[in-house]
Symmetry: C2
Subunit: 576 residues, 2 copies
């Protein structure tokens, strides 16, 4: 059983048959065609030679097929992780140098080891601290950054910058160097790809294609534009007019590479590797869960960490760079009918053949074309509606989104995610440090107690019931002291204070000391402190200390019991 | 009214009369006698010349008397803050240099400005994030560190070190340099003071003194030992035998000084100043609240920040160093009968007279005597019982205490507090990310629902009620998804899932998206999702989004209503 958990391949491999094989083969063919330009493009985005994109798509897919729990997830270079790779490496080594490619291997290795470690120690929960708004904001800002970073390739100019301001200034100051031939290719490719995405679908459907097949044809649009622009550069000798091309790509299978673990490099890459691991994991698992839910399959997050970790270690040993499960490639794989991870293995074979046989054909492929495929792919990531949605729902969530977007654009990707996560946690802590405390009364005809300000309820002058809407812990323990003190000081008729504990999920040591203080201070003015609806785990803990023995009042199972026992005449409960 | 809030002196000053005056004068006299040696000693502890201790006790007391809300708090140098001052400054400038004293002024000024800022912007809640266990651990470890740091003065040797390991090694390696004359004075003084504290009290009581007066006599013990050892050094010319003395102390009122705000210095001191502010505030407010509670007086935390801030700014302008409300001096003030902050002002006058008239008399005061008074004062801070108490109550609190103690001793004071606070927050977040989720049923004969594992309750096969014992937010949103999925997957009879929201105090945007996911997935297997006992503020927010309109089930006011409406025959509720 243990073995089956760690090697999901043993589960699906047993039932493999000819029907599954044919479905997987068809899906693999389609995904391979789609992945060739995409892999080359993401290598360019990561600042690496084009072949690194192919290599990063071959080994990792196979490793994920062995260890991953998703049947249809396609692992390889993705836009956001490639951007983070470029951001991490260009701080340390110069782009294009030998050290840059080696550092990419180290980044993949570190990221893989971090993911494996998190999987083995079952630390996947760490990723939960990336809230949805922070992720949404980060993905949107990354999309903008990536698109902006590709404009230089589209226009054939030089521009640098790690954030939007630097990029924009650099683009504007270099605008006079625009290469018009490159710009025509780039703008044509971008426009064509947008049209394929938005305008081709209806045309294909009118020609009688099914929606599913039409969708797949649309996804292979980049291949068409690659072929057309490559031919154009070759036929009209456009390199002479300054069009930058991919150039020589070695005709080879992925090489065996060894990442460097020099302490200096590891020190500089550790934090970026951690961020890449977490972001990659979150992106991958949300794609995997969305696809699995459609077929009632289950994803095991901790095993996913192991699958992705193995994939990244493999990338580092085979000339690649950090990878994760990608959205668009996985959706194509799913839609094309893939049934098992074997489809991924076949895709790897297809890409391996491409790496050996097809690379001479892309010598004349213009970089502007690859930039166009990137821009078209990432524009769909940009979704500013999260700003509106969060604004209307919760200002704290809005603040987290906005901060993430602004810091990602203004400073960089790692700073953006860190700021978003940090702010989410701080705002959460702030909210719990000043919790909602409701004074409650009995809803007539029921045994249910609600806020006296919102519901028509019965109360009793001698009994005050406060419902603390938060766990009692160090950050809000003194707040409760103050609230009870204020409530009691203003009303001499009070003889009993009941703390309704239905929303108190924990009482830590600081809070216990506050309760002792509250009890002692109330005792001095002859008021008894009672608790009601204390949850099991909280009660277990209270019984290990002597607070309950010197508490002036009692602990009641339900708030209704407490109210009936303590309320004086004049309430329906006392009369009953 | 606003004026009265910002100047509490206007409130108590109006009712000032002759009886109050005489009480305040007596208290001031006693506190002055006690403070002379203590102020000198804490200056030594902070690494400053002895007179700085007197100066830091004069102006700040007056400023606190004007702005503070406690009637009996005595403000001045205290042990823990003096230790933190020494730790902060000795990282930056050499002890004994001119720059050291200037940096102490800057530290007091920064700390004062931080406290004032927190007071004006009502940020006192920040101090709540220092949990009781972290404070207890920090105070204990500081006491050990301070005592260990004074041993060199007692033995007359040189030793350095910012943490216990460094100090111990340094003491042991220098042990051969021990100055026996100094050691005899030091050990005598320490022993005598311990005896005064523990053994003198019964003697005095047997002589017929009241407990209160005997307590005050005991507190003035340090004065006796100061007089005796100073005379001994003078009479027997012990300086010739290597006994280190306080030496020349200027005969003057506090000088007007200007702290430096050079950007470099401010940058280095900002974090230590923040830590000193928070620790000083927490220490001061807990003393103030304890004393106020005994006389039913009220402390306003935000105004306390202003009082302490003004005191520190004054310390920086009058040759002092960071100050706060001290425990022992405040207790002596209270016990000696002080009724208003005017007692503090009279104490300031007494100390000013001492600074002008008495300083020549302490020329021969041995440093070993001051070290002895420090050791005896701080030993009472050391209380390791918090380790036992927290271990039995909560492992998370225990981990926070132990970490704070070990890191404070092993690395330093700032690192210790930071680690303790950081760990408390991380453990709190971890606990809330994997909350308790109970499946509940109806307690027979009531309308109350409790955990099916702990209570004898009624359930219904078609209806599952889960009570999530935590607010729903990003850190645990996915956890709930998994739990509901697991519960439902194993039981085909389920038609309704009720989420009892009595303990859910917030639903953030991430959690709302998880609820939408849960609703959609349950809908696919024909199970309806219902909510019960949703709190007012949570409901307000849910109504601002369209989740409720596509939720398959309903929202019920009480869990009992929900159960009765959905349960099929066979439950008492359905039969009723």
């Amino acid at each position: 059983m243990k073995l089956l958990t760690y090697f999901p391949i043993l589960t699906w491999g047993r039932d493999y048959n000819r029907a599954t094989l044919s479905h997987d083969l068809v899906a693999a063919l389609i995904v391979t065609i789609m992945l060739i330009p995409q892999s080359l493009a993401y290598a360019l985005l990561a600042g690496l030679p084009a072949e690194a994109g192919l290599y990063a798509s071959i080994g990792p897919i196979i490793l994920y097929a062995i260890f991953g729990t998703s049947r249809t997830l396609a692992v390889g270079p993705v836009a956001v992780v490639s951007l983070m790779t470029a951001a991490a490496l260009s701080n340390i080594v110069e782009q294009g140098s030998m050290g840059y490619a080696t550092a990419a291997l180290s980044l993949a290795a570190l990221s893989g080891l971090i993911l494996l470690g998190m999987g083995i120690f079952r630390l996947g929960f760490v990723a939960n601290f990336l809230s949805h708004p922070v992720i949404a904001g980060f993905i949107t800002a990354s999309g903008i950054l990536i698109a902006a970073g590709q404009i230089k390739h589209i226009l054939g100019i030089d521009a640098q910058g790690h954030n939007l301001a630097e990029l924009t200034i650099s683009l504007v100051t270099h605008l006079s160097q625009i290469n018009w031939t490159t710009a025509i290719i780039g703008i044509f490719a971008t426009g064509f790809l947008f049209w394929v995405r938005k305008g081709l679908m209806p045309v294909l459907k009118r020609c009688g294609l099914s929606a599913g097949f039409a969708g797949i044809v649309v996804k292979t649009g980049p291949v068409a534009v690659v072929v057309v622009t490559t031919l154009a550069v070759w036929l009209f000798d456009l390199t002479g007019r300054g069009v930058k091309i991919v150039g020589d790509v070695p005709q080879s299978l992925p090489p065996l590479t060894l990442p460097s673990f020099s302490p200096d490099l590891v020190g500089q890459l550790l934090f970026p590797a951690f961020m890449i691991s977490i972001i990659g994991f979150v992106e991958s698992i949300s794609v995997a869960q969305t696809l699995a839910a459609k077929k009632r399959q289950r994803i095991d997050p901790d095993q996913e960490l192991i699958g992705l970790g193995a994939a990244n270690v493999c990338a580092s040993l085979s000339g690649g760079f950090p990878v994760t499960g990608g959205f668009s490639r996985s959706v194509v794989n799913f839609d094309a009918g893939a049934e098992t991870p074997a489809a991924g293995a076949f895709t790897a074979m297809g890409l391996a053949i491409a790496a050996v046989a097809l690379t001479p054909l892309i010598y004349f492929l213009p970089k502007a074309t690859l930039a166009a495929t990137i821009i078209v792919a990432v524009v769909s990531l940009v979704d500013l509606s999260i700003l509106k949605r969060s604004w209307s729902y919760s200002k704290a969530d809005f603040a987290a989104v906005l901060t993430t977007i602004l810091i990602t654009l203004g400073i960089g990707v790692e700073a953006g995610v860190s700021a978003g996560v940090g702010l989410s946690i701080l705002l959460h802590l702030y909210k719990t440090s000043k919790p909602h405390i409701a004074e409650v009364g009995l809803v007539a005809g029921t045994e249910h107690f609600r806020n006296i300000l919102r519901h028509d309820v019965q109360t009793n002058p001698a009994v005050v019931t406060l419902r603390m809407d938060e766990s009692l812990y160090f950050a809000n323990a003194r707040f409760l002291e103050d609230q009870i003190h204020n409530r009691v000081a203003s009303d001499p008729a009070i003889r009993h204070v009941i703390l309704q504990c239905s929303a108190i999920n924990e009482i830590d040591l600081s809070a216990l000391e506050s309760l002792e203080m509250i009890n002692a201070r109330l005792a001095e003015v002859d008021i008894k402190l009672h608790l009601s609806e204390v949850k099991g785990p909280v009660m277990d803990r209270l019984q290990r200390q002597d607070f309950l023995s010197h508490m002036t009042g009692q602990v009641f199972l339900s708030q209704y019991d407490a109210f009936c026992a303590l309320a004086t005449a004049g309430t329906s409960c006392a009369e009953a």
